[in-house]
Symmetry: C2
Subunit: 102 residues, 2 copies
């Protein structure tokens, strides 16, 4: 690992992962596409606003895709992109360290 290559991309990635709910949202989506209400059910402590904010951020970053199915009522599903799925080992790594040491 080289110091000069460590930032700023490291900072951006760590910043995202450090935000509340990011890890848990991605974890849920690793199980497959999910709807807004599914995510609320699986992470009940999270408020609507937090979920909305985070999903918008993840979509903007290209970590999540948002599919709109024009049914009635409309159905919207969120799904990880390749970029998002590639976070799995990262999250596992943090998880492993946390379990062992925190």
């Amino acid at each position: 690992m080289d110091y000069s290559t460590m930032c700023p991309r490291y900072e951006a990635a760590a910043d995202l992962l450090g935000k509340k709910w990011t890890g848990r949202i991605i974890f849920v989506l690793l199980g497959g596409p999910r709807r807004f209400k599914d995510m609320k059910e699986q992470i009940p402590e999270m408020s609507d606003k937090m979920l909305t904010d985070r999903m918008k951020e993840l979509e903007t970053l290209g970590i999540v895709n948002r599919h709109v199915y024009p049914e009635m009522p409309v159905r919207i599903e969120y799904e990880l992109t390749d970029k998002g799925r590639d976070l799995k080992p990262v999250i596992q790594s943090i998880q492993k360290w946390g379990e062992q040491w925190m």
Copy 2:
């Protein structure tokens, strides 16, 4: 990876790593023990307060040891503990993803 074991230790670890300067401080310390002024030199954009705050937090969490050498003037060195050194693969993992995708 199991959802029930993912939190709260994951959250605590991600929260720490997401704080500004944490990764860079640990990275510098992976190179060996460092003094306060050494760290300031290697991370010149960081204010004294930020370094003080972060070092105190890392020490409290047992990630860094603080050695006081009673010379005149006093010399203080910071060094990673085993817990701290174990963050190396975690930081590398975040770094790798960041390089590839961000």
